[in-house]
């Protein structure tokens, strides 16, 4: 299975970075093709709501930054793992910056799906979404639930579903094994 990990941890040396390293190694040992993108190391200019990726350069952000790398890796995966510590009750601004620029993967046209307005698909296939959170001392179960709900809706708008959410409280190896089963 092809797995892309979007790492939203902004700090280079943190326990969560080490955790993700162990998780990645385990998935590779299991035979999965893993692409781990450390968003902190990429040039992501952020979405400015210009909609050029919809109406001027369809399917591509006009900023020509590393969002193309993120989008290509996300779309090329069977499973997209969003990994982030929680700060102030939600995933990091860094992960959100990467996600905001993913609107280039969908089409501006409206469609009605599941009784709601959404955007039309641009691609034939999208990855299944998964979410790995490090709640830290500042977040509680309600924060995790709110975060899961928001990313679940984002997955839905990306023509997919959030299939799995976990908090980094068990060992990285246990979490990797469970993730592989879900996918």
């Amino acid at each position: 299975m092809r797995i892309t990990i979007l790492n939203g941890e902004p700090h280079a040396a943190s326990p969560f970075q080490a955790y993700l390293e162990r998780l990645t190694k385990r998935l590779v040992v299991q035979g999965h093709a893993v692409t781990k993108l450390d968003l902190a190391a990429l040039d992501l200019k952020g979405c400015t709501g210009c909609f050029n990726c919809w109406v001027r350069t369809p399917g591509e952000c006009a900023k020509r930054d590393d969002s193309a790398t993120v989008c290509r890796a996300a779309l090329g995966a069977d499973l997209l793992l969003l990994a982030s510590p929680m700060t102030m009750g939600f995933t990091t601004a860094l992960l959100k910056r990467g996600a905001d620029q993913m609107i280039q993967l969908i089409h501006p046209y409206f469609v009605v799906e599941g009784g709601e307005f959404h955007h039309r698909a641009r691609y034939a296939h999208y990855p299944v979404f998964a979410l790995l959170l490090d709640p830290g001392p500042d977040s509680d179960a309600e924060d995790v639930e709110i975060t899961r709900t928001m990313w679940g809706r984002m997955a839905r708008n990306m023509k997919s579903r959030l299939a799995w959410t976990a908090v980094a409280e068990r060992t990285a190896e246990e979490v990797a094994d469970e993730l592989a089963r879900v996918a």
């Binding site: 952020g46 979405c47 400015t48 709501g49 210009c50 909609f51 919809w54 109406v55 001027r56 350069t57 369809p58 399917g59 591509e60 193309a68 989008c71 290509r72 779309l75 090329g76 700060t87 102030m88 009750g89 939600f90 990091t92 601004a93 860094l94 959100k96 910056r97 996600a99 905001d100 993913m102 609107i103 993967l105 089409h107 501006p108 046209y109 409206f110 469609v111 009605v112 009784g115 709601e116 307005f117 959404h118 039309r120 698909a121 641009r122 691609y123 034939a124 296939h125 500042d138 309600e142 924060d143 709110i146 975060t147 709900t149 928001m150 990313w151 809706r153 984002m154 708008n157």
Partner: protein, 230 residues
């Protein structure tokens, strides 16, 4: 309560739909007896920093934003992260301002913004702030395309909400509901909307811009993988 810091969290800055709406709330705030608000655009670096500093020194903060991929824009989350020291300050007995929010999205239904509203309510609790409520409004992108006259009723309602904030320290539930408009489509509405989405006129806003930019022929471009053929 008298002082208000009005924060525009739209990455589009001054010309955003969020700012159009926030301006009307601010007008109501002044009409309700509040002092002229300090207006800051988070997308401007210096103003972002000022917004962090101003947080502790005002009675009320009104933070407005567009819905980006079903949550707050990264810019707004970065601002919220910059407020982390204020959580500690509140725990140590310091006071944080009343928090009011505005969330607008391009989708016609308000339901898309409700999970973010829930987050913002919890944020106020986290900050030890009084929660004044969240204005939720769908169809925000259409504000750009509409003549000013067509938005008159919405502007009036937003002004009333601003007055309520100045006078009562919170938004009124009935006015919040009126501004939110359609929460979800009825079954019949879904059927009608599904049909409408199949005719080109419903996509006129996007088609107009695609044609204007000479991108019409490439509108279904799929540079990263096989295109959807539906």
């Amino acid at each position: 309560m008298n002082s208000l810091v009005l924060l525009n969290g739209s990455p589009r800055g001054e010309r955003s739909n969020s700012m159009k709406m926030l301006t009307r709330v601010a007008e109501g705030w002044v009409r309700g007896g509040g002092a002229q608000p300090e207006v800051l655009h988070l997308v401007r670096r210096a103003q972002f920093q000022r917004a962090v500093e101003a947080f502790a020194g005002t009675d009320v903060v009104l933070l407005g934003m567009p819905l980006y991929t079903d949550a707050m824009p990264a810019l707004v989350k970065a601002y919220i992260e910059a407020l982390a020291p204020r959580v500690e300050a509140a725990r140590s007995g310091g006071a944080n301002p009343t928090l009011a929010f505005l969330v607008q999205s391009g989708f016609p239904e308000a339901a898309h913004s409700r999970p973010l509203e829930r987050y913002l309510k919890k944020l106020a609790l986290r900050m030890g702030s009084h929660y004044a409520g969240t204005i939720v409004r769908g169809g925000g992108e259409a504000l750009q395309a509409m003549p000013e006259e067509a938005n008159r009723k919405l502007w009036a309602r937003l002004q009333v909400l601003g007055e309520q904030l100045a006078r009562d320290g919170r938004f009124g539930a009935a006015e919040l509901k009126a501004v939110a408009g359609r929460e979800r489509f009825s079954r019949f509405g879904v059927w009608v909307a599904s049909l409408a989405c199949r005719i080109p006129i419903i996509q006129f806003y996007w088609n107009g811009m695609l044609k204007k930019n000479g991108a019409w022929e490439r509108r279904f471009a799929a540079p990263y993988g096989p295109a959807f053929e539906g």
